[in-house]
């Protein structure tokens, strides 16, 4: 399948040795050549010394899903040599460190072994263990640049940008790049049959990860309070928020900050802080992962029942329990939809890529304040932490936050008596007041049973009146959350339904199935509660696959619960090993099913 501007390669290294920055450099150089590219970091839950991989997919057609075939592997981690050698497709290449002879058992006849004495070159040219370790990554970057035909001017430009303030490092990096590059040119036929040629397909794009994009969305949406407890893979979201706020929200003269970011003692406290801030009138948010959601559930129920806006980012990782913290999954779908004890249901938005993380962050704050309820932005490790090529973000300067029904002091003066939970407009959304505004707006917020005035109650009717209205309010949000993205064709044979991070792989699978003569309609769900269009799409197709990344077909269960559509009508297509979904996985399952085999 590989060819010019259409191949995949991966670097197998040891974490903590500086390979991440070299890999990022490679990806960005390809991007600057105008060629669509995606990078996926498959890393351990560890600081130093364990195997880590970085996969780069180059796709002239703009496909961004994880590649299923590796055309070239850079094997620099002896502990995973066997696995890395085996991962190369027949006819592919292995680039290894020839400082030491490669074990005979690792030889493969069906691939080309390219040996470069990376270690030896570094020992000869650089002083000190740390420098040699770090620069080995730059040497292999130089070799790959030669093998793939990466524009060396771009590489030089990037090194200059990176080390503009450190001349000695710049010189060493230039030497390292040249060492790797020149060795390849001298010993191998460069470039390889699959290689890079300049395109002009990335001019309007950026390379960004979802957590950074979410953080940026928070800043632009006007969020002022962020509280969190560090947890992989969501930590970088809060750190990015702080970084952007230091850039945009800090008075250059006084140093005063127009934001508050609090590192909480645990996720329980983080949730409480966010709800306290939302109650006081700030746009507030937290970012976490599955274990944090478990801890936050009590507070989530409080915010739901007391009707306090708050935004929660869940960057999902592999569960249950601690699970695999550095692997991706969509295992929190149900936990979030119905989080906390008692009858609850929550608004959730499911971005498929960093571009949607940016816009959905903004939407989440508007929805939270409009509906006075917790709103969840449910992404995953793959979206949150990996580098994606997406269209440049823009911002509409005419945007103003939807603060929902918040009574001002003047409005309160006009009414006889304020009651917190009386549904005046018939939409289930009642007016709220903020503390400090007016003595007339004072009310007592309580998680205990309350009537429509907010007063404590143990009366069945008074209690039910409030919870029934809340149910109406939440169901009413189905039309306000992001609508599903639907791709329809004439005479579709099958339909695919997916969510969040599955999107890239399913889109590609739809194309590939089409090439095989199987026309597939496709719907990507973007919000919960589900819109009418979701029910209609499923109902109008005979064969519906629900593609998701968890073991128990949680999305399918939610669809069955919410729509009443029988489970049997929806065929689960599951992938939950912790790695990003590939298009091939979807294509194989669909074709196997159509041929009568079990998925």
């Amino acid at each position: 399948m590989s060819g010019v501007n259409d191949f995949a390669f991966k670097m197998a290294t040891v974490n903590g040795t500086g390979s991440a920055s070299a890999n990022g450099l490679l990806m960005q150089a390809i991007f600057r050549m105008g060629i669509p590219v995606t990078g996926k970091n498959i890393f351990p839950s560890n600081i130093q010394g364990l195997p880590t991989w970085y996969e780069v997919r180059v796709s002239k057609d703009g496909y961004t899903a994880r590649p299923e075939e590796i055309d070239l592997a850079v094997a620099l981690n002896t502990s995973t040599y066997a696995q890395d050698v085996a991962s190369v497709r027949p006819g592919g290449y292995l680039l290894y460190d020839a400082t030491w002879p490669l074990d005979e058992s690792l030889h493969r006849e069906d691939i080309t072994m390219l040996g470069v004495p990376f270690g030896g070159l570094c020992v000869e040219n650089f002083e000190g263990d740390r420098a040699r370790t770090l620069l080995r990554n730059i040497v292999y970057t130089g070799t790959l640049a030669a093998l793939f035909g990466i524009d060396m001017d771009i590489v030089s430009e990037m090194l200059r940008e990176k080390f503009s303030k450190k001349k000695s490092l710049l010189d060493a990096n230039f030497r390292a790049i040249a060492l790797g590059h020149d060795y390849a040119v001298k010993h191998f036929t460069c470039p390889l049959p699959f290689h890079l040629e300049r395109m002009n397909a990335t001019a309007d794009s950026i390379v960004i990860d979802g957590n950074t994009a979410s953080a940026l969305g928070c800043v632009f949406a006007g969020a002022t309070v962020g509280a969190w407890y560090p947890i992989t893979p969501s930590t970088s979201l809060m750190e990015a928020y702080k970084g952007f706020c230091e850039q945009y929200r800090k008075d250059p003269v006084t140093g005063e900050r127009r934001y508050a970011m609090i590192q909480a003692e645990d996720e329980l406290a983080a949730a409480g802080m966010v709800i306290g801030a939302g109650w006081a009138g700030a746009r507030s948010f937290t970012s976490t992962a599955g274990p944090g959601i478990s801890l936050m559930e009590e507070f989530i129920g409080l915010a739901y029942y007391t009707e306090v806006p708050a935004v929660f980012f869940d960057v999902q990782r592999t569960g249950p329990s601690t699970g695999m913290p550095t692997r991706t999954q969509q295992g929190d779908l149900m936990a979030i939809a119905y989080a906390s004890h008692g009858d609850t249901k929550h608004l959730a938005l499911y971005p498929a890529n960093p571009a949607e993380c940016f816009t959905m962050a903004r939407d989440a704050f508007d929805l939270a304040e409009h509906f006075q309820t917790p709103v969840f932005v449910v992404s995953d490790l793959d979206i949150g932490m990996n580098d994606w090529m997406v269209p440049r973000f823009t911002w509409d300067d005419a945007y103003r936050p939807d603060r929902g029904k918040v009574l001002t002091a003047e409005e309160l003066e006009k009414i006889t008596k304020f009651a917190r939970y009386i549904d005046v407009d018939g939409d289930g959304i009642t007016a709220r007041t903020l503390p400090g505004v007016s003595p007339k707006g004072a009310y007592f917020t309580r998680g205990s049973g309350h009537d429509k005035n907010g007063a404590y109650t143990e009366d069945s009717d008074a209690y039910q009146e409030v919870v029934d209205r809340i149910a109406r309010k939440i169901n009413g949000a189905a039309a306000a959350v992001p609508a599903p993205e639907i791709h329809r064709h004439d005479d579709a044979e099958v339909a695919l339904v997916s969510i969040g991070g599955c999107h890239a792989a399913v889109l590609e699978a739809v194309d590939r199935l089409g090439a095989q003569g199987i026309t597939a309609d496709y719907m990507r769900i973007r919000g919960f509660p589900f819109a009418e269009a979701v029910f209609d799409f499923i109902n109008e197709h005979e064969t519906v696959f629900v593609v998701e990344q968890n073991r128990d077909a949680q999305l399918r269960s939610m669809l069955a619960i919410e729509t009443g559509i029988p489970r049997d009508h929806m065929i689960p297509l599951l992938d939950y090993g912790g790695l990003p979904l590939t298009a091939q996985r979807v294509v194989s399952a669909v074709t196997a099913h159509l041929q009568g085999a079990a998925v």
Partner: protein, 351 residues
């Protein structure tokens, strides 16, 4: 934010404060606690303190968790917003609310179960952050709402109503607060309103976390012979060390009786806490001394009350964070959103 003062409707027999409000204006709903509950006395002292400080009720926020003590926020200041959240998590809600709106006066009411068991972590971290609030721990050594289990503040040897003796060492919130770096630490007794009101006022004005542990006997489950948190035991072992006067900045500072022997501590807003010495040479600005003093009296079986420690240079959460002086909730959106031009410049860095 507009501040609306309630029209001063003067009841002929009730005195008014500077806002023209009577104590009645600072009251709340009827208490549903047991008759004689120490908590109700504390509620009355809180009403008095807010009234005397001339705090506009709607500029205060009442925060609480779960338990008998936490219910009491409904029993004072009906014109204030209140948030009765989840068990042991009042500090988090208050921290968030305070982060959003630093201009309100926050009072958090908690109990020994709420603060020292389920909420011990949040209590400690609110102290570390020095959240600007008054934190009142209504301490009765027992779980009342669930009918009489020991709490973490129950003393060794103290017996339950059924006669069982507690054998686990207590957590003393005052010693804990002192060791965590709390900037204002006091202990009171619900039966001594004269001492409690000025301490509450000082705690409300303190620029940071004002902590007052108030021994507040539970008449239903912990007021029997054998209990060390009963009215009788507390009165017998009560050591009112340093009667306190709180002199708000607005008012003329007048020397109380025996002022020649008083130690004055100036608060951040210029108001003054004055300790009248009662025979002991006590320095409320010495943390180690305060700790030792409490321990020394504990060894003698005495409960020391009074304002035990105050850090005059206290920097609250916002000071440490360098938050803008204007409350975050009042910042116009335009000052928060960088705008599309800035975004496009930023986008170039992601290429």
């Amino acid at each position: 934010m507009t501040s609306i003062v309630k029209p001063p409707v003067k009841h002929p027999s009730l005195p008014t404060n500077a806002l023209g409000l009577t104590r009645r204006d600072y009251e709340g709903a009827m208490s549903t606690l047991c008759a004689g509950c120490g908590h109700d006395s504390i509620t009355a002292a809180i009403v008095q303190a807010f009234w005397e400080l001339d705090v506009p009720p709607h500029r205060a926020a009442k925060m609480s968790g779960i338990g008998c003590s936490s219910k009491t926020t409904a029993y004072f200041m009906r014109q204030s917003h209140g948030f009765n959240g989840v068990h042991g998590r009042m500090p988090a809600l208050t921290t968030g609310a305070n982060a959003a709106n630093r201009d309100l006066t926050y009072i958090g009411i908690s109990g020994d179960g709420d603060s020292l068991s389920i909420g011990l972590g949040q209590f400690c971290h609110a102290i570390r952050r020095n959240v600007n609030m008054l934190y009142v721990l209504e301490n009765n050594g027992v779980y009342g709402l669930t009918k009489g289990q020991f709490s973490a503040s129950a003393d060794v040897g103290s017996t339950s109503k059924k006669g069982e003796a507690n054998e686990q060492p207590p957590i003393d919130p005052v010693l804990l607060a002192l060791s965590l770096g709390a900037t204002f630490v006091a202990r009171g007794f619900s039966g001594d309103k004269e001492q409690l009101v000025p301490m509450l006022k000082a705690g409300l004005r303190h620029n940071g976390f004002g902590f007052i542990d108030v021994i507040s006997p539970c008449v239903s489950f912990n007021d029997h012979v054998g209990s060390t948190k009963s009215y009788r035991y507390t009165r017998e072992h009560y050591e009112a060390l340093s009667p306190v006067d709180f002199v708000p900045v607005r008012r003329e500072i007048r020397a109380p009786q025996g002022a020649g022997q008083a130690t004055s501590v100036t608060m951040h807003d210029g108001s003054v806490v004055r300790f009248r010495k009662t025979g002991e040479d006590y320095d409320p600005t010495n943390r180690d001394g305060a700790y030792e003093h409490v321990r020394e009296h504990e060894r003698k079986g005495e409960v020391v009350t009074g304002l035990l420690f105050i850090d005059e240079r206290s920097r609250d959460m916002h000071a440490v964070n360098h938050t803008a002086p204007q409350p975050l909730v009042e910042l116009p959106y335009e000052s928060l959103c960088p705008g599309n031009a800035a975004l496009q410049t930023l986008m170039d860095e992601y290429r």
